[in-house]
């Protein structure tokens, strides 16, 4: 028990939440991710950028083992969250996903009420002891999702009736309701208009206070706006990984520079 504490403390000090070593991902015979090594810090927004099909979404989905649902997908290498290998046979992906929440490209609220959407996660994980408890969790999550004020009077109306931007914030609220430690976002703003995008980006910045956020985005401006660290993926390789400012102003690899200046992608 004491040992565990020590390790946790060490992590806090190093501030490293996820570390991937020599990760390879295959879809059947296709080698989709090649030799990715990355350390993702806690309480930071890390952005993955790169042209379509470069593997950034695939890599994101290996972090909470969503790729398990694809039969032909195979992952090699080590991915450690808090020094624990998430591909260890003893790890149940269901438990992992409670710890590593995910927000998808297209807003996908359940066809249920706003309340039930947020309450679902805490319910199945047994986080609430009573109805009042659950109410509190739901309110807190909706406040964190920056949508509480808009929906507090209609918690029982269907979540699918909200606008696109509201739906996406509802999905973020749903993801944070289970008290995850890492939040993965797969192009969360690609289906949203600029105003909704601005709201979600603001929200991402706030979420940084409590979580390690990993965001995949097609928009370099977005990466520059919300992230502290940026990784550039190209053809399945992680080409460069550094401070966001450095990547955008002074990249080391010529491929990164070409992409950022719009010559490839």
């Amino acid at each position: 028990m004491n040992d565990m504490r020590l390790i946790e403390r060490a992590v806090d000090m190093n501030d490293i939440k996820i570390s991937a070593r020599n990760v390879q991902v295959y879809y059947g015979d296709t080698h989709a991710i090649k030799d990715v090594d990355v350390d993702i810090a806690d309480k930071t927004v890390t952005a993955f950028i790169g042209p379509s099909g470069c593997g950034k979404s695939t890599f994101l989905r290996t972090l909470n083992r969503m790729n398990d649902t694809i039969a032909s997908c195979r992952v090699e290498g080590k991915i450690l969250i808090d020094q624990e290998d998430i591909y260890d046979p003893r790890v149940d992906p269901v438990q992992l996903r409670a710890k590593v929440g995910m927000v998808f490209q297209k807003p996908n609220p359940f066809p249920k009420s706003i309340y039930d959407n947020v309450a679902y996660g805490p319910k199945i994980h047994g986080l609430a002891r009573s109805k009042a408890d659950l109410d509190e969790i739901v309110e807190k999550a909706l406040r964190r999702g920056a949508i509480w004020d808009e929906v507090k009077d209609r918690l029982q109306s269907p979540g699918t009736g909200l606008s696109g931007g509201q739906q996406q914030r509802l999905c973020i609220a749903r993801a944070v309701a289970t008290e995850p430690e890492v939040l993965l976002m797969d192009e969360p703003c690609s289906a949203l208009d600029p105003i909704a995008t601005a709201q979600v980006e603001e929200l991402i910045d706030e979420l940084r206070q409590s979580y390690s956020v990993v965001i995949v985005t097609h928009s370099m401006q977005q990466a520059a706006r919300v992230s502290q660290k940026t990784a550039f993926f190209h053809l399945g390789n992680m080409v460069e990984y550094d401070e966001t400012g450095k990547i955008f102003t002074n990249p080391e690899d010529p491929r990164t520079e070409s992409y950022i200046s719009g010559r490839i992608g």
Binding site: N64, M66, T69, A71, V94, Q95, R97, A98, G101, M102, V103, F104, K106, N108, P109, F110, P111, Y120, G121, I124, H125, T160, C171, R174, A175, A177, T178
Partner: protein
């Protein structure tokens, strides 16, 4: 820009300058083709509608007559001398007079009735009762046994007329057609006319057709579809209870859990093939397995239900899988993303969304099973007279019975045109059931449909 246009005209590819106000030849052709195609569609729909209307008209015009029946009202003197000579009032004694023994009483009653109305005829007294159903005597006897105090009194009875008389009132039987009929003579019809004028012969709605049981070949006027309706009901119960859970569980496993390999491919192909197998094949399979191997009783709704379950399963599995497939993957992702297990994501999110499709498929499968005749032929649910209501629920499953379509088939097979009419009537009832089931399917679909 100028270069490009010069090039094009040099190649001869440039378009001639045309007016938008004038249709060119190609456009005219395309429009004509479109108009022709629309016309084909309208013609196809018109033909379909014509046949539908023809079918419905035929069914209604032929079938509605089966719902009415001709009754004869007469005063019957229940002669104590004949029924209970010693005046004991003992049901035992009274029941000793068989149905046959009531023949004389009926003859006397008819003679009296005619005399009272001043109707004269040349028919011998003993032949008058040919106007009545041969079940009339049994009907009167039953009334007497139910209430022995009737003995010695004169009671007014309404008894069924024979099917020939009924056919005469319905226009099916004419004097010419009776010329060579042994059961009724044209003179009888004169009597019927006179009685009808006196208000003693009347054609009216006959509940017994809906609630009653089948009757022997010579008494079509007594036959009803009620008992076989019960048979169909118990069969449907078996089908629903077995095929819904088995079908849905199979589909969920195949669609969500089963690994994709040769075995599951093989199973999938075979399920699709089974849906196309003629139903009579399922009938002989049921005969071989359920009756010859498992020794379940013949002609029992339980066996019928099992056979129809086999037949309905592919339909249910295919429609359930289709509706599971149509649930967007984003919902599964969402559920897995918040840490739901696979089973939770299926039962909490996917299944409720697939429910309308599953229910519709199930009800349509049931409707198909309800109308199925061929497999029932092979397990013996036709060819006998389903004359008794089952005594209880267990009896309902196990005692020999028929089913509605099998009953209709049986009636259509019989020689008497009166039965042909009843077959049409039975079809109306069957169609009403099918329509009800389809309406329920639509309502359920509406009720459960949710957007995402």
């Amino acid at each position: 820009m100028t270069d490009a246009s010069a090039d094009r005209s040099a190649d001869g590819h440039s378009r001639a300058k045309t007016s938008l106000l004038q249709l060119d030849v190609r456009t005219k052709k395309r429009n004509a083709a479109e108009a022709r195609f629309k016309a084909y569609g309208v013609v196809a729909i018109a033909i379909g509608l014509f046949f539908l209307i023809a079918l419905l008209t035929a069914i209604v015009s032929n079938g509605t007559r089966a719902f009415t029946q001709t009754f004869v009202t007469m005063d019957v003197t229940l002669d104590a001398q004949k029924l209970d000579p010693d005046g004991t009032g003992d049901p035992e004694v009274i029941s000793k007079t068989t149905t046959f023994g009531y023949g004389g009483i009926i003859d006397a009653a008819l003679e009296q009735t005619l005399a009272a109305r001043g109707i004269t005829t040349e028919i011998a007294v003993g032949d008058l009762d040919q106007m009545l159903s041969s079940g009339a005597a049994a009907e009167i006897r039953r009334a007497v046994l139910d209430d022995t105090s009737l003995v010695g009194q004169t009671v007014t009875f309404e008894v069924l007329a024979s099917s020939r008389v009924d056919g005469y009132l319905k226009g099916r039987v004419t004097r010419e057609s009776l010329a060579r009929d042994r059961n009724l003579s044209p003179e009888h019809l004169d009597v019927v006319d006179a009685l009808q004028e006196a208000g003693l012969v009347e054609r009216r709605f006959n509940w017994a057709f809906i609630t009653g049981s089948d009757a022997s070949e010579s008494r079509p006027e007594q036959a009803g579809i009620g008992v076989s309706m019960i048979g169909s009901f118990f069969m449907m119960l078996v089908v629903l209870v077995l095929s819904l859970p088995i079908g849905v569980a199979t589909s969920i496993y195949l669609e969500e859990f089963a690994p994709q390999n040769r075995i599951t491919d093989f199973i999938e192909v075979n399920i699709s093939n089974l849906a196309a197998v003629p139903s009579i094949v399922f009938g002989i399979l049921g005969l071989a397995i359920f009756i010859q191997v498992a020794h379940l009783p013949q002609s029992a709704p339980l066996v019928g239900g099992l056979v129809l379950t086999l037949m309905t399963l592919p339909t249910i599995i295919i429609s359930t899988r289709a509706s599971l497939k149509s649930v967007p993957p984003s919902i599964r992702d969402a559920a897995l993303g918040v840490g739901a297990s696979k089973m939770q994501s299926i039962f909490h999110h996917v299944l409720p969304l697939a429910m309308p499709g599953i229910l519709t498929g199930t009800i349509l499968g049931l409707a198909q099973a309800l109308g199925e005749t061929a497999p029932l032929l092979l397990i013996g649910m036709v060819g006998f007279i389903a004359s008794n209501y089952p005594d209880g629920i267990a009896e309902g499953f196990l005692s020999p019975n028929s089913a509605m379509p099998a009953q209709i088939y049986e009636w259509a097979k019989r020689a008497d045109p009166a039965y042909y009419e009843r077959a049409w009537g039975g079809i109306i009832i069957l169609l009403l059931f099918l329509m009800t089931m389809n309406i329920i399917a639509i309502l359920l679909r509406r009720r459960f449909e949710r957007r995402w």
